[in-house]
Amino acid sequence: MIEITINGKKCTCEKGEFLLDVARRNGFYIPTLCHHPAISGQACCRVCLVEVVEKGRSKIVVSCVYPVERPCEVYTDSERVKEDRAVVLMLLKERAPESDVIDALCKAYGAADGSRFAAIDGEKCIMCGLCAGACAKLGTGAISTVLRGTAKKISTPYDEPSKDCVGCLSCAYICPTKAITFKDDGQTREVWGRTFEIVHCRECGAPVGTREEIALAARRAGEEPEELCPTCRKKKMTDIMAHTYGIV
């Protein structure tokens, strides 16, 4: 156990725990964009920076990947943090001027003057790669970061509609700036240049997901694909259990 202070409050944590997790557990809000508990170690948006004072020396660290090694004092809102975060937010705003989320962060925390940079017109993406990570983990790895440097972007191979995509929208759901566009009218879903048919629950008619998505889930679970929504599936399971134990 290590004892640290965050904004003056004494907190305890395990050695090696990330600072962001410790702070959040103790009720300190640190803004983040690219952090997601399920996909770790992106550490590219830099919004979560905080000031750490160790042995009388102060430094700015990225809290989402900073492991606590020894007692220290942490400040999540010091002058230095405010100043540095304003620069980070300004750069993110120039990168993705269309994003409402970044706009809100800039309003809440203040952004430095970015007039010397040329904003990228119509851009929302901050290239954090969470979508590619989510696709690899939950979907099929249909998208990835392609090219590099200023040309880097998120795309499918050869910029073509991907054969691998199942239309699960994990990418759009996890995106912190809502940069991934899709259409969903309840009957069909369009994402990454492909159109998917939406399957409805055979019991109650609620939308379940795309046919490909259901097939993938069933394949992973080693079961037959079933067109049931979560509620009706639960109902079916309880019916089976009730029957097994002779309640009904």
Partner: protein, 157 residues
């Protein structure tokens, strides 16, 4: 060499089916075909049981790998510090005029590709041009025309 399914299979099977060899296999394809063909990448993804997107990300990241066929003759124009100062950009403009291609492009007839490199270690010869592994030093625009003409005639033989 012409892209063939047989040759692709041979390259893939010369390595263990492990994802850490993906880059080496694609480099071998690049060496063999002058580019990484789409069939090759798809076959490799199948063999390694990984998504095509992860190989595509790798192939677009590394400059050494190309996704489009390269020309028969590859012109490497050094644009390192010494060559740049000695007028490498004039040479690149000259090539653009002569062959209508910029860095990273290939002529319509598939004869020439132009690449810029950052230093060839022959700064005393600046500006340096390498055509099919033959070095040309202290190249001027006049010399450039002769070099291209020479390669064209040599290639026609």
């Amino acid at each position: 060499m012409e892209v063939s399914e047989k040759r692709i299979e041979e390259i893939i099977h010369s390595y263990q089916p492990d994802r850490r060899y993906a880059l080496a296999i694609m480099q071998d394809m690049q060496r063999e075909f002058q580019y990484v063909p789409r069939e090759g990448m798809e076959a490799l993804a199948e063999e390694l049981q990984c998504p095509v997107s992860s190989l595509y990300a790798m192939a677009t990241f590394y400059k050494a790998l190309s996704l489009v066929p390269k020309g028969k003759h590859i012109i490497k124009c050094c644009d390192g510090t010494a060559c740049h100062i000695r007028g490498a950009s004039t040479l690149i403009d000259g090539i653009r005029r002569e062959l209508k291609i910029g860095p990273g492009e290939t002529t319509q007839d598939g004869m020439f590709s132009l690449e810029t490199v950052n230093c060839l270690g022959s700064c005393a010869l600046a500006p340096v041009l390498v055509v099919d592994d033959v070095y040309y030093g202290k190249v001027t625009l006049e010399k450039l025309k002769e070099i291209i003409q020479g390669v064209k005639e040599g290639g026609a033989e």
